[in-house]
């Protein structure tokens, strides 16, 4: 059981906004990884989603999620094979300065086995649309050690300024 967290790196989007945040050169010396995100997209309306990929790979992702929204709808669906669409985040027409949040746990990232993944996150749009919360579990069917993680937007062209991402290494001893 993991019992120690180390902050590998964190980043905050500055005035030069970006559609992609990437953690590279992840050392293989930990047991698991944990990604923590506070993000907002420049997409115009309702909601955006954050796609997560590993090692710049666009294949081998699988899993299921349940998504609850404040208009009383509950949706269950599978994730696409090209990325883990993990988090729903706030967009331009949401309440000002509110960011969506999300956490992802990646087990055995440096092992030569498939990588188990769980994630949850949520956003609100009290101004114009429902709030969404998504809970997901899945895996990446690749035996390579994860050395980089890419975060990109499904719809928007930029993470806005003050979006933050933290990557932790987790050790089991």
């Amino acid at each position: 059981m993991a019992n120690t967290y180390y902050l590998l790196q964190s980043t905050t989007v500055g005035a030069t906004t970006t559609p992609t945040i990437e953690f590279t050169a992840i050392p293989s010396t930990y047991t698991d990884l944990k990604l923590v995100l506070s993000a907002r997209s420049n997409y115009a309306t309702v909601v955006d989603a954050v796609n997560v990929t590993f090692n710049n790979s666009t294949s081998g992702y699988a899993g299921n999620f349940i998504q609850v929204s404040s208009d009383n709808s509950v949706v269950g669906a599978t994730v696409g094979a090209s990325a883990i669409q993990a988090f729903m985040i706030d967009v331009a027409d949401c309440t000002a300065n509110v960011f969506g949040t999300g956490e992802m746990y990646i087990s055995g990232y440096a092992l030569s086995t498939y990588k188990g993944i769980s994630a949850e996150g949520g956003m609100e749009n009290q101004a114009n649309a429902p709030a969404y919360k998504r809970c997901l579990s899945g895996f990446w069917s690749n035996t390579a050690a994860i050395t980089s993680i890419q975060l990109s937007l499904a719809l928007g062209t930029s993470f806005v300024q003050y979006t933050t991402a933290y990557l932790y290494g987790v050790k089991n001893a």
Partner: protein, 77 residues
């Protein structure tokens, strides 16, 4: 006009870099976005059709009109 940039954080050195995306990366991003928009439109249409079926079933139930099998299915778990 330059391509968008990506923010790269090296976990070994701690160095942050802002790197211009390649044309191929930009094309892939735009293709992914179009595919996701199409997928969302399909989901919205399916939800609207299901909602309409439910509303029709409810109205027929209240008025005592026979339901179609499809409408009845929306009321049965």
């Amino acid at each position: 006009m330059p391509n968008p940039t990506r923010l790269e954080v090296n976990c070994t050195t701690g160095i942050e870099s802002i790197i211009e995306m390649t044309d191929a990366e930009v094309a892939q991003m735009e293709s992914d976005r179009a595919a996701y928009l199409a997928h969302m439109a399909e989901e919205d249409a399916a939800k609207a059709a299901k909602d309409a079926l439910k509303a029709s079933a409810r109205a027929k139930l209240v008025s005592g009109t026979p339901l179609t099998e499809e409408e009845a299915a929306t009321l049965v778990i």
